[in-house]
């Protein structure tokens, strides 16, 4: 079964063709990061206009790279939330138009669920139950997955998402946007034990909080004129990773998970990947960096498993900017 995936929830315009939910035939991503970097982040109106410009060429690329004709497709999967309303609308309406013209079924996909399915594209089927940590610029969600489509939200951030904390601290340190790669790069020459920055454990819950850490970094920088940016970046990264890994391990142990899945843009951070691998007594699955950031192959994969379970969406499929996983 060949599924065309379409993803426009944020600032990446992406289309992909995936066979049987696991085999990537094509995976095309047009990033708007250069356009948005002058704003230090994403601007919704700019994003949706850019999606409109790039959507059709990206789909054509995905089809030709997969050497697929319309008649080779069995369904279309499209992200319908969560994300920016204007951006989501471009993808959803495009998907509807193609589906209607080609007589194909359509299925709306939760972007967070799609991130989890990036793991199926790595040639391995996770062993349920799994604990998933979804970390990106807009999300920090810890989820228990008992089977396909069976989720329990364990916790999420109460203030800043982990990726957002990276962006804000990068701005405090004058490192530019996007903050994740910038901090990671600056931290290479730093010592992460120089400053012991706070960790918000929020004991008794699986929730996260990164706002206090951001404030602590701000104060540290303000009070010390000639501070080493590399050491602050490394210490900040150390603190975020410590909290993410410890809380994920706690949940996995408590709930008897067989595996831990890591996904979302921040999952491409090397320290997070290494630390999770070192501290986990159970196997951890992390997609390769290209599948961690927003892409449509994960959308198509997730769509395949939903369709296999007998689900489809109607023509009234709408965007849901605040869609939650469970």
């Amino acid at each position: 079964m060949n599924v065309l995936g379409i993803e426009t929830s944020c600032d990446e315009t992406a289309a992909a063709v995936v066979q049987n939910g696991t085999q990537i035939l094509s995976n095309i991503i047009a990033s708007q990061v250069d356009i948005h970097s002058r704003y230090g982040g994403i601007v919704p109106e700019v994003a949706s206009r850019q999606h409109l410009l790039t959507m059709i060429p990206i789909i054509e690329d995905a089809m030709s790279q997969a050497q697929a004709r319309w008649s080779d497709l069995d369904a279309i999967a499209v992200t319908n939330g969560p994300g920016l309303a204007g951006s989501l609308l471009v993808g959803v309406n495009m998907a509807k138009a193609i589906a209607m013209a080609q007589g194909l079924p359509i299925i709306g996909i939760n972007h967070l669920e799609a991130h989890i399915y990036a793991n199926w594209l790595e040639g391995r089927a996770p062993d349920f139950p799994v604990v998933c940590l979804i970390v990106s610029g807009g999300h920090t969600d810890l989820v228990l997955m008992r089977g396909h489509g069976d989720y329990q939200l364990l916790g999420r951030t109460r203030d800043d998402a982990a990726g957002e904390a990276f962006d804000k601290v990068a701005r405090i340190l004058g490192l530019g946007y996007p903050g994740g790669p910038a901090i990671e790069q600056a931290a290479v020459d730093g010592n992460g034990t120089t400053h012991h920055l706070p960790r918000a454990w929020l004991k008794g819950t699986d929730d996260f909080s990164f706002s206090g850490l951001k404030t602590a970094v701000l104060r540290l920088v303000q009070e010390n004129d000639d501070i080493s940016v590399a050491n602050v970046a490394a210490s900040f990264q150390e603190s975020v990773v410590d909290v993410l890994v410890s809380k994920t391990m706690d949940a996995a142990r408590r709930l008897g998970a067989r595996q831990v899945l890591l996904c979302g843009g921040v999952a491409s951070n090397r320290l997070l990947r290494q630390t999770m691998a070192q501290r986990s007594p159970i196997p951890i699955l992390i997609p390769s960096p290209i599948l961690c950031t927003d892409n449509a192959a994960m959308t198509a994969s997730c769509g395949y498993f939903r369709l296999k379970a007998g689900e489809t969406s109607g023509w009234d499929l709408d965007v849901e900017p605040n869609l939650r996983l469970a």
């Binding site: 601007v43 994300g83 203030d159």
Partner: protein, 165 residues
């Protein structure tokens, strides 16, 4: 007329927000002013609770606008990433700002010129490591009435003030 208080904890800041949320009417605009870490999102969490919205209103910095359904719709707007009035107008906020919901705008100082003249301006700053100064400045009759109904102890304590960039 203005109210000046000192919040000794995030919970106290949320309490102030909760009172504002409870008193809110359709079309309310709260403009929050103050640097990183002074508790703007924290105050907004309280406003959301006051409107009967469950959970934590997380920071909208990444997406610029979060919407919630409560007793009234809440539009939580964050101009943190924007650097000029042109960028703010490009985002297209008027439908929210002049609608029937409650608008909370973080980093309002970046866009005074395009924000409603009638508003409750909330200035927040560091008072000490753990406490924050909160000043409520009503602009317009309805907001003067609103803050006259608040039960907040006015505390303009002497203390170390942190300078922000």
């Amino acid at each position: 007329m203005l109210i000046n208080t000192v919040s000794e904890s995030p919970e106290e800041t949320q309490q102030v927000g909760m009172q504002l949320g409870k008193l809110s009417q359709p079309g309310e605009v709260f403009l929050l002013v103050g640097g990183l870490g002074v508790g703007k999102t924290c105050l907004t969490q309280g406003i959301a609770w006051g409107l009967g919205i469950e959970g934590y209103a997380a920071s909208p910095s990444f997406v610029l606008i979060n919407q919630y359904r409560g007793r009234l719709p809440l539009y939580h707007i964050d101009l943190y990433r924007l650097d000029s009035i042109e960028e703010v107008t490009e985002v297209g906020l008027d439908d929210y700002l002049y609608g029937n919901g409650v608008c909370v705008v973080e980093w309002a100082e970046k866009a005074w010129a395009v924000l409603p003249r009638e508003n409750l301006t909330v200035e927040m700053s560091f008072f000490s490591d753990t406490s924050r100064s909160i000043t409520l400045k009503p602009n317009g009759k309805r907001y003067v009435e609103m803050i006259s109904q608040l039960s907040i102890t006015q505390r303009a304590k002497e203390g170390k003030r942190w300078s922000l960039p």
